[in-house]
Amino acid sequence: MTGAVWFYLFGGIMLAAALCVVFSRQPIYSVLSLLVAMFCLAALFVMLEAYVVAALQILLYAGAVLVLFLFVIMLLNLDREALARLRPFTLRGLGTVVGVLFCVQLIPLLSRAASGRSLAGVPAPPGTVADVGRLLFTKYLLPFELTSFLILAAIIGAVTLARSKQ
């Protein structure tokens, strides 16, 4: 029963932080709210007994990706009006409607959640570094190697794009 309390606590904080990301006027606040959401998601990963993924979530997302976002936002130094422009009453209000309808469609699922697949009876997969690494270097070796090409392409692309022209 305590697991349910933690689930609703972290899930609620995560959804609130996600709403702050989307509807905050200041982009710095958006990035910091996303940081809160990442930490709550890492807590949920720990509850799912995916410890390595939780650590990587904090290290990679909070440590690398969001810092990159903060760097760029501070580097561009745009004024507040140019940065945040939310116009909910135009045609793009349709986007909000679509998203809300998507949420509403999920609600009937919750009523059937009690008959859903329980997580308590299933043995958790061994999520230690050794197990994950073994699987990564045997079954998923080819995708793992291919990600290096992807990262190389991203590095070259970023350097080429952001380089000054002269």
Binding site: G3, A4, S30, Q57, A82, G99, L110
Partner: protein, 100 residues
Amino acid sequence: MVTLTHYLVLSGLLFAIGLVGIQTRRNVLMILLSIELMFNAANLAFVAYGRAWGDLSGQLIVFFVITVAAAEVTVGLAIAILMARTLSTLHVDEAGRMKW
């Protein structure tokens, strides 16, 4: 009792919030942040499914998703910097041509 459905609904809600962000915000950086939210919703669904079926592959796919997200953010932020430098705006409606 927290079941798989709870996690999937939470993941769906997070995805929907990211979707609303993409469709309502017109700033490049905000759209990238919303895409990150949607990536994380997918990650949560993968880990929850892997946990429910006792399979470690769900966690490994999250590694690949994080890698792809990092690459996407790198290139996306480079494009945002280029946009701010050449067009001096980050508003996506004012950037009709993505070439130099």
